[in-house]
């Protein structure tokens, strides 16, 4: 059985101690390069499976140049078998990344693809679902445990749905799962494995040069409306005291225009798209392009 773990090398900015406004007050020490911890959690899931079934083959797949070689080697030392790299130097959006990955995955033909739930730097959390879409495979997000059936045809996963709630799902394979931090384990490489990993070559996925890099996704940044939409200097003295205090707190008497969408996911998505269109967030041209 072949499992592919998609790895993203990130730059974690954990402090802002610089003095230079140009670099957003970042000093060189404020950042460390590491592997996205969610991806490490994904690797952990694969390794736990490998502990149980030693014949599993784990492949690490990176997109773009090797940045943190030590950490990648460490992943190999932990028990991954191969490291594949898709050579690509342009900076890409989630969708394009997923496109590249999907093509590579088609040639590698894995039984299971694991990704981190999101990356710690961008926090888009989209690559995995795009990937499933392009591969036309089932997708479960934010899983924390994974159990394989005996015939390796189905997997039972537990996913976290926030606020402590858990969901247990069964999925047929091959599939794409994204992994949440709940699966993170502090595995340590042994010295021998590390030495073996240090001399392992990086394999290249070739024949992807025709992949389109044209921008197919447009990102528009919309800032949410501030709760204080209207500045009221003094509350209207005609009002009752309760309303006046409320007015001071909320800033206005504007009613919240919230609309809660119920129903099946498909229905909700259609509702959302029509809402966006209605309010001019989506122009018809954009809708066309992304299709």
């Amino acid at each position: 059985m072949k499992i592919i773990v998609c790895i993203k090398q990130i730059c974690q900015t954990y402090a802002q101690t610089g003095v230079d406004a140009e670099t957003h007050y970042l000093a060189p020490e404020d950042q460390i390069f590491r592997i996205n911890p969610y991806d490490e959690a994904a690797l952990e899931i694969a390794l736990t499976l490998k502990d149980k079934h030693p014949d599993i083959e784990i492949i690490l797949l990176i997109l773009g140049p090797v940045i943190v070689e030590d950490e990648l080697k460490r992943c190999l030392a932990l028990g991954a078998d191969y490291l594949y790299q898709i050579e690509q130097s342009a900076s890409l959006g989630s969708q394009d990344k997923a496109k590249f990955l999907a093509r590579a995955l088609e040639t590698l033909a894995p039984d299971l693809v694991l990704c981190g739930k999101e990356s710690m730097d961008r926090q888009n959390g989209q690559v995995a679902c795009f990937l499933a879409e392009f591969l036309n495979q089932p997708f479960v997000s934010a899983i924390e445990t994974l159990n394989m059936s005996n015939d390796n045809k189905t997997a039972v996963v537990q996913r976290s749905c926030g606020r402590g709630a858990r969901q247990i799902l069964q999925s047929c394979l091959p599939a794409v799962f994204s992994v949440d931090m709940g699966a993170y384990g502090f595995r340590m490489p042994t010295l021998k494995a590390q030495a073996r990993a240090d001399i392992q070559p990086v394999h290249h996925v070739t024949g992807l040069s025709d992949a389109s890099t044209g921008k197919s996704m447009v990102t528009s940044y919309i800032s949410p409306p501030c709760p204080r939409t209207k500045r009221t200097l003094a509350p209207d003295s005609d009002l009752a005291s309760f309303d006046r205090i409320k007015l001071l707190l909320t800033g206005s008497r504007m009613k919240k225009k919230t609309q809660i969408l119920d129903g099946s996911p498909e229905f909700q998505v259609t509702g959302m798209i029509s809402f966006l269109k209605e309010h001019g967030f989506l122009t018809p041209a954009q809708t066309q392009k992304s299709k």
Binding site: T17, A27, R34, F186, M188, T190, L191, K192
Partner: protein, 647 residues
């Protein structure tokens, strides 16, 4: 062997245990001098072999012999009378004493022509011969063991070598009875000059006695005292070359050990030299707190494997030494300090840990986040180098950089100083003292990394190496006179362990610096502080690096301070329980070591305990809180105390 160290050690013990030390010295001196320089021996040598050397006057050797005999009696009485020594004494110890004393007693009696000159003379010659042969055998056996590590100690030696040797000896002895001088070796031929006229009854007694003693020696030889005669001696001679608590680097690709095959000869020697006296057990904080660790047993278990080892024995030591044992050690070095034959159980424990960590992947789960933090961020707290200078707040602390590369004192902060909120205040106190004294100092700032001590003592050599190399590289960029640090663990690593990796620095502990500043009148403690104070000596400061006086001298320099010493103090301090990575390990078996120490402190009645280590401070704070004393006891760092009294 360094002469300075030997003299110092002799002086130290003469003051502490005068009778025993003097007796031991006289005994060993007499043991070597008398046989070689006795008038009678030299004359005999001249008549039989035709050469000789000057001898000592009769009166001198006579008096010396008497002294040696008295010393033997002192040893005997000590073994019989002192309870704790008596408990540890086995038959073998008495045999050794008898074996050593017999030639002197019989020789003395013979020389003074008491009732039966011939009887005593023969007795003297025989007992001397037995002593010599057993000594030679024990050393030969020992050398054989080290020529071939995989020697099947028990079987081969015991059955073949030993028996053959003894048979040969019997032949020599009986030979000179039958045939006279031409059969025997020097000692025998000397005896045969006098022997022919001995009566049959005497000969029977001689034979019977001889074989009894011989049989006894044969039985005791491999397992008993004679092992330590050679092993311990070499160990003691070798000891001054080692720095206590300094761990060796590992060879490339090596990962500690799990089978005896990968022990170094020094470590084998240690295991062999242990005489099971139990002093380490009496003083080990882990044992006292009821943890499953016994330092002596670690050595004995390793020795057990050595005895069985026949090259094919690759059974892992982890089958006989449990993980609980090796992860209970705080590397406080109490066992090493108290061992009379200078063995070191700790480097074995660390090597076992190294194997568990780097080979078996069995590092306890609870410390892994800390190790990962060290890998990613370079500090034990996982805050990252960017926050390394946060502790400075608004103090004026110079940070070394390309433009500012020169300073007198490089203040080493360490992870505790930079991130432990309790200890950052201590470092700020240090800064105040340094500014007050006008010392030019600077810190490495964001370039500093953890010294790696904790990782190393948990067996993570790779992490230690990368941290240490990084630090050495950074430190070497700047010029300074000395490094000063407040943390004894950083101090120990920088001073003793970095040189192995190419970082030779002049390192000083802050208490030493502050003491010298007070001495030079650069700072004067002005404000008296009324308190009854007791001192907790950090293991890596007091015991390992022998820095005990500065804390006391500083305390005495402050008016109103009265020192009440604890029972376990100075080099004999009691561990706080945090060393050796215990700070990050779960302490689930037995009692907490810091609670025991805190109780000792509370019981002393002091209202303040002074220490000089971030770990000790945390552990004592916790321990004192847990002990819920009626009278509050405050745990402070010596630096804080000075800073508050200089205003």
């Amino acid at each position: 062997m360094s002469l300075k160290y030997s003299l110092k050690s002799i002086l130290h013990w003469t003051i502490k245990r005068p009778v025993m030390t003097v007796a031991t010295l006289i005994f060993h001196a007499g043991f070597i001098v008398i046989p070689f320089f006795l008038n009678a021996h030299v004359i005999l040598l001249k008549t039989t072999w035709g050469f000789g050397w000057p001898s000592l006057p009769e009166s001198v050797t006579d008096a010396l012999t008497l002294l040696v005999i008295i010393c033997c009696f002192i040893f005997l009485i000590r073994r019989l009378v002192l309870r704790n020594i008596n408990d540890l004494t086995g038959a073998s110890n008495y045999w050794l004493l008898l074996l050593a004393a017999a030639p002197f007693i019989t020789g003395f009696l013979a020389h003074h022509h008491t009732d039966n000159y011939h009887f005593w003379l023969v007795f003297h010659i025989l007992s001397g011969e037995i002593l010599l042969v057993t000594l030679l055998l024990s050393i030969g056996l020992f050398i054989l063991r080290y020529l071939n590590k995989k020697f099947n100690y028990e079987k081969i030696i015991f059955h073949r070598f030993l028996i053959a040797g003894l048979m040969g000896l019997c032949l020599v002895i009986t030979g000179f009875y039958a045939k006279g001088p031409e059969w025997a070796w020097p000692v025998g031929s000397m005896a045969s000059l006098i022997l022919p006229r001995s009566s049959p009854g005497l000969q029977f007694i001689l034979n019977a006695h001889f074989f009894l003693v011989l049989a006894g020696a044969a039985v005791l030889m491999p397992s008993g005292f004679l092992r330590h005669v050679s092993a311990s001696t070499i160990n003691i001679v070798y000891w001054p070359k080692r720095q206590m608590g300094k761990l060796g680097t590992i060879a490339k690709g090596k990962t500690g050990f799990n089978t005896i095959a990968s022990l170094s000869w020094k470590q084998l020697l240690d295991a062999e030299a242990c005489v099971s006296c139990g002093k380490c057990i009496e003083n080990c904080p882990a044992v006292i707190a009821g943890k499953p660790l016994y330092p002596e047993k670690i050595l004995q278990k390793i020795f057990g494997q050595i005895k069985q080892g026949n090259g094919k024995n690759t059974e892992g030591l982890n089958t006989i030494i449990s993980n609980d044992e090796i992860w209970s050690c705080t590397t406080c070095m109490a066992c090493v300090h108290h061992c009379p034959v200078y063995t070191d159980p700790v480097d074995k424990i660390i090597d076992l840990r190294r194997h568990q960590t780097m080979c078996e992947n069995a590092l306890p789960k609870e410390v892994r986040p800390m190790i990962r933090n060290l890998e990613l961020f370079g500090d034990t707290h996982g805050k990252g180098p960017a926050h390394r200078t946060d502790w400075i707040q608004d103090n004026e602390v110079a940070v070394l950089s390309r433009d500012h590369f020169q300073t007198d004192v490089l203040l080493w902060v360490g992870c505790s100083g930079a991130f432990n909120p309790r200890y950052t205040t201590v470092y700020r106190s240090m800064v105040r003292i340094l500014i007050h004294a006008g010392v030019e100092f600077a810190v490495l700032g964001k370039k500093e990394r953890c010294c790696g001590d904790q990782a190393r003592r948990l067996g993570q050599e790779t992490v230690f190496n990368s941290l240490a190399k990084n630090n050495i590289h950074e430190i070497k960029k700047y010029t300074f006179k000395k490094i000063v640090t407040l943390c004894p663990h950083c101090f120990h690593s920088l001073k003793h362990e970095y040189p192995d990796l190419g970082g030779q620095f002049d390192v000083m502990h802050a208490s030493e610096l502050v003491q010298s500043l007070i001495k030079e009148n650069k700072i004067t403690p002005r404000y008296p502080r009324k308190s009854l104070l007791t001192i907790h000596d950090p293991c890596y400061l007091g015991r390992v690096n022998k820095i005990v006086e500065p804390i006391r001298k500083i305390s005495r320099a402050i008016d109103g301070i009265e020192i009440k010493e604890l029972e376990h103090r100075r080099e004999n301090g009691f561990c706080c329980g945090a060393g050796g990575g215990q700070m990050w390990l779960h302490d689930s078996i037995g009692r907490h070591i810091n609670h025991i120490r805190a109780e000792q402190i509370v019981d002393s009645g002091a209202d303040m305990v002074v220490t000089a280590c971030p770990y000790c401070l945390t552990m004592l704070d916790d321990g004192i809180n847990a002990a819920e004393p009626k009278k509050p006891v405050e745990a402070v760092d010596i630096i804080e105390m000075v800073a508050s009294s200089i205003g």
